[in-house]
């Protein structure tokens, strides 16, 4: 079984190579088959590996395969080796399975695009890089995948590169995630300096003996790793790139900016959980960042009008939930939320893509409406996704994962009522904007005629994802209900169990409150948007300023413009003729001056030259005489 691991990333890589080298000359059908087929094969292999893993847990809790030695420098030896343990298995399952569905979907979605082959080449490369990221045995290989997904994200956001704003969005995403990447890289250097190894099992084994809990070294390292994760996962304050990243095609948003890449930060923290547990301060920071992010992004999602930006903000907000769960030590809850979120958010993006495509590339939700009757399949799948997003009790996967996070945010040892309240407010907001989105898009009167019905191949992935959005939650039930905790049993082979407080109130009470908040959100959305133009309350003058503030994402872009871009431009303007330049210019000036002096002597008079020679001879002979 170990030998199969390499084929999982190898097939998408093969697809990438074929499509990037020969993609121009292949017929479209073949491109689609190669692009989607390679990922499907990877998904099948993953399922085979997963079944083998679940039947008999391998020695040491992981499959591993050493491919070849990458490089050796001094006592640092980096191998290209893959390792699949319980945590990785969840991720590769999501990447390949959801990835395969999205690839099938995009084979139809992108059919009319000119650069069909380029799209699939980038997507395949992305899947390969993402698989490397999660399957890497050492942090250097993981960093390779980390940069690889960043690159693919950049390529795909700027996929329609003729539009300048798309290129700007791609640059923004690349630059902001680069801040995080740099921090991550420094963190890796420090880690190597301290522990002398970058092998993940080695680090996890050696760290508890080496670092004292809460020592400044470990806190610095974990904070740097956290900044890296924040950049990739679009957490405060590095979240501003994700809403703009929606400039890419919808399947890209679904795969990269909802299901997989943006959760790389979650993976990183979960993978390095031993280090983070040694550093309580960083854990608290993770939780606080997650809490703030989920609230801020949720508020922004409330007022957006672009359907994809709503979903983007909600993605930020949901990843905020994951960070919150990580921060309070509810490791399995965070991974479980990632698991369900990947399904329903991918579903929502794909369905949004269908809607946008059907309405002549209309992004504004207030120009939609009345699609419930016209596109019933899309409506029901979207409904399943929105229900999961707003965590409707018992009938959606989102409930099980989000409820677990809400419960742990109070009851875990690191949790407190403050975090719980924020998470609860977030749940309310989530329900509210989900309802708003559903009502505005699918109810009411139709404002834009439907251009075309989605192809069959696009609907099937939607239905599969909708099924999982409802059913994925059933493998992990709250403790007080059905005693079925398959998922946490699985993940806890790697991740530690959540430490609980003593003397807690009944879990039923919390579930009831959470469910009540969800319904309250839904009801409030219903009151505000059902059967009304919906925009009326937003037009009152007092609220429009607030709305404007939220709409621009809490003015973070403007803040950064003011804090970083403006001073930078100012400094560069001052520094345009800087000292160093002046030095080089001075050299040039001096040589020009010397040239003009010497060129006087270059006057073409032969006799003067001979006098010069004679003077030289005299000088040397005089020197000899004198010395």
């Amino acid at each position: 079984m170990d030998q199969l691991l390499a084929y999982i990333p190898a097939f998408p890589l093969l697809g990438f190579l074929i499509l990037s080298l020969f993609g121009r000359n292949l017929p479209k059908q073949l491109i689609g088959v190669i692009g989607a087929g390679t990922v499907c094969i990877a998904a099948l292999i993953t399922i085979v590996v997963g079944i083998a893993f679940l039947q008999t847990t391998p020695e040491g809790g992981a499959f591993s395969q050493l491919l070849w030695s990458w490089f050796r420098v001094g006592n640092l030896s980096i191998d290209i080796s893959l390792r699949v343990d319980a945590l990785t298995l969840v991720f590769i399952f999501i990447i390949t399975f959801v990835g395969a569905l999205i690839h099938i979907y995009s084979a139809f979605f992108m059919w009319h695009d000119r650069d069909y082959a380029r799209f699939f080449a980038s997507m395949n490369l992305f899947v390969c890089a993402m698989l490397l990221l999660v399957m890497a045995d050492n942090l250097v290989l993981m960093y390779l995948g980390w940069e690889g997904v960043g690159l693919c994200s950049y390529l795909l956001i700027g996929f329609w590169y003729e539009v300048p704003s798309n290129c700007r969005a791609a640059n923004k995403a690349f630059l902001i995630t680069r801040i995080g990447d740099t921090a991550l890289l420094i963190g890796l250097f420090l880690l190597f300096q301290e522990l002398g190894t970058l092998n993940i099992p080695g680090i996890l084994q050696r760290a508890p003996d080496y670092f004292a809990s809460g020592s400044s070294n470990i806190e610095l390292i974990t904070i740097l790793l956290l900044v890296g994760g924040m950049g990739k996962s679009a957490q405060m304050p590095l979240q501003t790139w994700l809403p703009d990243a929606m400039a890419g095609p919808s399947p890209v948003s679904a795969l990269i900016h909802a299901a997989t890449m943006v959760t790389a930060g979650v993976y990183l923290i979960a993978r390095m959980h031993v280090l983070f547990q040694l550093s309580p301060v960083t854990m608290a920071i993770v939780a606080i960042i997650g809490a703030i992010t989920l609230l801020v992004a949720g508020c922004s999602a409330l007022v957006q009008t672009d359907i994809k930006r709503i979903l983007a903000y909600s993605t930020i907000s949901q990843i905020g939930y994951m960070f919150l769960a990580l921060g309070i030590g509810a490791w399995s809850a965070a991974i479980f939320h990632f698991f369900t979120h990947a399904f329903f958010k991918a579903l929502l993006f794909l369905a949004a893509g269908v809607v946008i495509e059907a309405l002549h590339h209309e992004h504004n939700i207030f120009m939609m409406g009345g699609l419930r009757k016209r596109m019933p399949v899309v409506f029901f799948t979207f409904l399943a996704g929105a229900a999961a997003l707003s965590a409707l009790p018992l009938v959606s996967a989102g409930f099980f994962s989000k409820d677990a996070i809400l419960w742990y945010s109070w009851s875990a040892a690191n949790g407190n009522s403050f975090l719980w309240l924020i998470a609860l407010a977030g749940a309310f907001i989530t329900a509210l904007y989900s309802t708003r989105l559903m009502l505005v898009v699918f109810w009411g009167e139709m404002k834009t005629p439907i251009h075309e019905q989605p192809a069959q191949g696009m609907v099937i992935p939607l239905i599969v994802l909708a099924f999982f959005s409802v059913a994925a939650g059933f493998i992990e039930w709250p403790h007080n209900m059905v005693h079925l905790t398959l998922f946490s049993d699985h993940v806890q082979k790697v991740l530690p169990e959540t430490v609980m407080k003593q003397g807690l109130p009944s879990e039923y009470l919390f579930q009831a409150i959470a469910a009540f908040m969800t319904f309250a959100g839904v009801y409030m959305g219903y009151m505000m948007y059902y059967g009304k133009p919906g925009v009326r309350w937003q037009q009152s003058p007092g609220l429009s300023a607030t709305r404007e503030f939220l709409f621009s994402g809490w003015k973070f872009d403007q803040l950064y413009q003011f804090l970083f871009v403006k001073p930078f431009v100012f400094i560069t303007r001052i520094n345009k003729s800087d000292v160093i330049d002046r030095m080089y210019n001075g050299i040039a000036q001096a040589s020009l001056r010397l040239n003009s002096w010497f060129s006087i002597s270059q006057n073409g008079s032969l006799r003067l030259y001979i006098v010069g020679v004679l003077a030289g001879i005299l000088f040397i002979i005089t020197l000899q005489l004198l010395l």
């Binding site: 270059q602 032969l606 001979i610």
Partner: protein, 95 residues
């Protein structure tokens, strides 16, 4: 004593090169200088009773012959093109 004669001849040739403006005269002066150098070589060879001084003189001779032939050909060409032999006017290589 021979070397003193050679030195005097050499300096006389140098004066010729420096003062004359006519290219032909300059070439003549250069010949004088070369001859003086050869004289010094022969004197040294004679002093040490070795044939090397004379051998060197032979080489200088050959060199002078080649130099004069090329130099005079250049003089001809210069005269054809510029109608003058004044070195002060031949300043085409000037910066």
């Amino acid at each position: 004593m021979v070397l003193l004669v050679a030195t005097v001849l050499f300096t006389l040739g140098l004066i010729g090169v420096l003062t004359r403006k006519n290219v032909v005269f300059m070439l003549i002066s250069v010949e004088i200088m070369l001859n003086a150098a050869g004289l010094a070589f022969v004197a040294a060879g004679s002093r040490w009773e070795q044939p090397d001084g004379q051998v060197m003189f032979l080489f200088i001779l050959a060199m002078a012959a080649a130099e004069v032939s090329v130099g005079l050909a250049l003089v001809l060409q210069i005269y054809h093109q510029h109608k003058t032999l004044d070195v002060e006017n031949l300043k085409e290589l000037k910066d």
